[in-house]
């Protein structure tokens, strides 16, 4: 039996599954970010335990109760977290049956479970999970008892049950934004205009508000939310700051400038010369997570005990990071996840938790802190600007014999990481100011900036170098897929260019460089779904393929674009193999959401800078794809349901982005080398 890492770390059944008279509980570290993980976890447990979906509740992301699985990232929630729940649930059922067998003087093999009732030879015994809930010791290793059902015996996993949380999301009360505690006040932080700005003078305060000031950390707290909001706007506009000069280097120019650190991540000794050399280069700008809901947190101090409610991706690291910055023992801090708006990566959800804790400490009241839209666009972490250059060398037959890539990018994660690197924005402004840490990229094969820069195609000699620009005039961290967007866009453009140089059809050319039948199958399926190509004026078609992280889900997309003054994507046909899809409609929803987001990134999105000064303050400065611009989506899952689940949330970003860029290339006959493909970028490309 394959034991996933979280279950290895938290081996006991009781760390994952609880029984009570009311039903079954799942304890999980994986949090519900809108991706549907709650529903999927319940489905996986329902199958193993033979209980209905409605009988299961979850506690997710509670530092006092959940297994400390780490962050909900990387399309790993089913692969690791879900599989842990599945095994623990299977073991829990076995423990229940063993106990029942003793009571009934029966063999376990004669017993079965129907909706939580224990049956013998198909007949009710009067025993049930509810009845035995206090009598069975679950504090035993799951791996000793787990025997999960084979795929063909699952009744709930593999079916599209309705999302258990969607109806609640239509009304107030479900999201952290709606939380209200007795005596709770509302806070808004005043963001210093630069990291080393200092307050020269403060204006007098409007009535009914309290100012929180610790070093250069400033916030306004008031009983009514609108009082705090209107006061913060008034006060922030009147504060005099000393502002040191802002750097003059634009994030894109910094990619061409001094390199602080260069690392060869993947190397082959013999980069054969070949007879033809083909190179492509793709540069993209800084992209914002741009949640529709601004980040929020609620904090309450009761004596030494601090409770923080946050929509963090990692409550466990947030707790130790808060402990470090607040100088308070982690053992006295509880962080509880409550859903917020979709985050798509490391946004400001952790930052605002520290803000709330500081405001609550200073005022002695529970405080709900909320960032403003402008705070998010100016001060939250961003997906970094990056540049990927790739070169392929072809032999006389046109086959790629060697490849090298140079990825220039800051690290793609500066997530809060406890004592070493708490990385919460306000830590820089407190009297004991701490600089933010440098962050990191996961090592290959996952990679960070270099994610999917190692080609999934069969190429005998490969080298990948990752360079860090010396100047990074913004906060950089993780967003959906990390470097996969730019790297897959570049690699798939390279494959088009190589196929042309070799005089081959680009689909056949890709298949020539792929042996994995699952990789070939998604490409063949997506191309077949797209069918006959029309050749109307301005129309282009493009293919994008990747296996996410070269180890997770496979996906191929074909995009049809119509290029006029602007690019319009009309259709995307996609085939994905993510192995087992626990909730197929939810999986498709995730894949399609990733497609829409990737189209938005590729065509529209870039945080605008003048030199090193971020100019983006509102949605007017940062357009994203709108309803009338979303294409028709045709998406199929073609993976085997009896294969291991590979994850889905981030799988589509690279292939969809690459398909769109290749379709534009096809329509224009030019290699797009700069994203986003705005009207201006098209003019530059064609001149």
């Amino acid at each position: 039996m394959n034991i996933p890492p979280p279950l290895a770390a938290f081996p006991l059944v009781s760390q994952w599954i609880t029984f009570s008279a009311d039903g079954v509980g799942i304890l999980s570290g994986r949090v519900e970010l809108g991706q549907g993980i709650t529903t999927a976890l319940i489905q996986m447990a329902a199958d193993e335990l033979d209980v209905p979906v409605e009988a299961i509740t979850t506690i997710q992301g509670h530092t006092g109760l959940s297994p400390a699985e780490g962050p909900t990232v990387g399309s790993l929630s089913i692969t690791f977290g879900g599989q842990s729940v599945r095994l623990a649930a299977s073991a829990a059922r076995m423990l229940m049956l063993q106990h029942a067998a003793g009571l009934l003087q029966a063999q376990v093999g004669d017993l079965s479970v129907r909706e939580g009732l224990i049956l013998k030879d198909g007949v009710e015994t009067g025993l049930s999970y509810a009845r035995l809930c206090s009598d069975v010791d679950l504090a035993v290793p799951a791996k000793d008892y787990a025997a999960p059902k084979p795929a063909d015996q699952r009744r709930v996993s593999g079916t599209s049950v309705p999302r258990v949380d969607l109806e609640a999301r239509l009304l107030g009360g479900y999201l952290l934004h709606d939380m209200d505690l007795p005596g709770m006040w509302h806070g808004r932080v005043i963001q210093p205009p630069s990291l080393s700005a200092t307050v020269l003078s403060l204006p007098s305060l409007p009535p009914d508000v309290q100012l929180v000031q610790e070093g250069q950390f400033l916030a306004i707290v008031a009983r009514e939310e609108y009082t705090a909001l209107s006061a913060v706007k008034k006060v922030a506009a009147q504060i005099e700051w000393t502002i040191p000069p802002i750097g003059s280097v634009h994030p894109i120019d910094a990619l061409e400038g001094e390199i602080a650190e260069s690392e060869t991540l993947y190397d082959s000794p013999d980069l054969a010369a070949g007879v033809t050399e083909i190179s492509v280069s793709v540069t993209k700008g800084v992209i914002a997570h741009a949640s529709i809901g601004p980040s929020v947190a609620v904090a309450r101090w009761e004596g030494e005990a601090l409770t923080v409610w946050a929509h963090s991706q990692n409550v466990f690291a947030l707790r130790t990071s808060l402990a470090e910055v607040l100088g308070h023992p982690a053992a006295k801090i509880t962080v509880i996840f409550v859903p917020g708006a979709g985050c798509y990566g490391h946004n400001s959800s952790d930052d605002v938790a520290l803000d709330a804790a500081l405001m609550a400490r200073a005022t002695g009241r529970p405080v709900r802190a909320l960032w403003q839209r402008e705070d998010e666009f100016l001060h939250a972490p961003f997906n970094p600007a990056m540049c990927t250059r790739m070169t392929a060398r072809l032999n006389a037959q046109g086959r790629i014999v060697s490849y090298d890539a140079r990825v220039v990018s800051p690290p793609h994660s500066t997530r809060p990481a406890g004592a070493e690197e708490p990385n919460l924005r306000a830590q820089q402004f407190l009297p004991n100011a701490m600089p933010m840490g440098p962050g990191n990229d996961a090592p290959q094969p996952q990679g960070g900036a270099d994610r999917n820069a190692v080609p999934g195609y069969i190429i005998p000699a490969v080298r990948v170098v990752r360079d860090r620009p010396a100047i990074v005039p913004y906060r950089h961290s993780a967003m959906r897929g990390l470097g996969a967007l730019a790297n897959v866009v570049a690699l798939e453009q390279l494959m088009e260019c190589c196929a042309e140089a070799a005089g081959q059809d680009s689909v056949a050319y890709r298949l020539w460089h792929l042996e994995d039948p699952r990789a070939r199958a998604v490409i063949e399926a997506a191309v077949a779904m797209a069918g006959e190509k029309d050749r109307a004026e301005g129309v282009g078609y493009g293919l994008g393929y990747a296996r996410y992280k070269n180890m997770a889900g496979y996906m191929a997309c074909v995009a049809r674009v119509l290029v006029g003054d602007e690019v319009r994507v009309t259709d995307v046909w996609s085939a994905a193999d993510v192995g087992e899809a626990v909730s197929p409609d939810g999986t498709i929803n995730q894949l399609e959401g990733g497609i829409v987001q990737a189209i938005s990134w590729a065509l529209k999105e870039e945080v605008s800078f003048a030199g090193g000064q971020n100019l983006t303050k509102s949605w007017e400065d940062y357009p994203i794809l709108r309803f009338s611009e979303v294409p028709r989506l045709h998406t199929r899952l073609i993976g085997p349901q009896d294969a291991a689940p590979l994850g889905a949330g981030e799988v589509s970003s690279g292939p969809a982005g690459a398909a769109v860029v290749n379709a534009v290339r096809n329509a224009l006959g030019a290699n797009p080398d700069r994203l986003p493909l705005t009207r201006q970028a098209l003019v530059t490309l064609l001149s």
Binding site: R163, D178, E224, G342, R373, N589, Q590, F627, S628, P631
Partner: protein, 148 residues
């Protein structure tokens, strides 16, 4: 300065006190405890706070409380309480992910459906509502099912 404002909220008369310039959104989420209407940008750009004013969709984050005196305000709570057919169809289509944008979209779309508007017109009106999870196509499919 506080002003007392009377209006109809989902068909019921309500009275609320607040600064006249305070956006309607804060009265709804605060004293009136109707938290389905959400604060997104506070600038009328994203549509998360969409309500109806005398049957016309508006953004409540930049509609002053004083402007609703004597008028009829409709929110997502009213749409759900009336069991509008779009609610169940949205859920059946799994037309959302995080759902932060959905109350505003549901309020606008249900209102326009009830006024007999066509899918294309509703889609165009929804260009003022942002969705970041990328559930647009499912939302439009749900609207098309109910509107036709």
């Amino acid at each position: 300065m506080m002003q007392t404002v009377e209006f109809s909220l989902n068909g019921k008369a309500v009275t609320v006190q607040g600064p006249p310039a305070m956006p309607l959104l804060f009265a709804l989420r605060g004293a009136l405890a109707h938290k389905g209407t959400r604060l997104g940008c506070g600038e009328g750009h994203c549509g998360a706070c969409t309500v109806t004013l005398d049957g016309v969709p508006v953004t409540s984050c930049n509609t002053p409380l004083s402007a609703v005196e004597g008028r009829a305000v409709g929110t997502v709570e009213g749409i759900v309480a009336a069991d509008h057919p779009l609610v169940a169809v949205l859920i059946r289509h799994q037309a959302g992910q995080c759902g932060y944008c959905l109350p505003g979209i549901l309020t606008k779309a249900a209102t326009l459906i009830d006024q007999g508007r066509g899918v294309d017109e509703i889609c165009a009106a929804l260009d003022e509502n942002l969705c970041r999870c990328g559930a647009h196509a499912r939302i439009l499919a749900a609207i098309a099912e109910v509107a036709s």
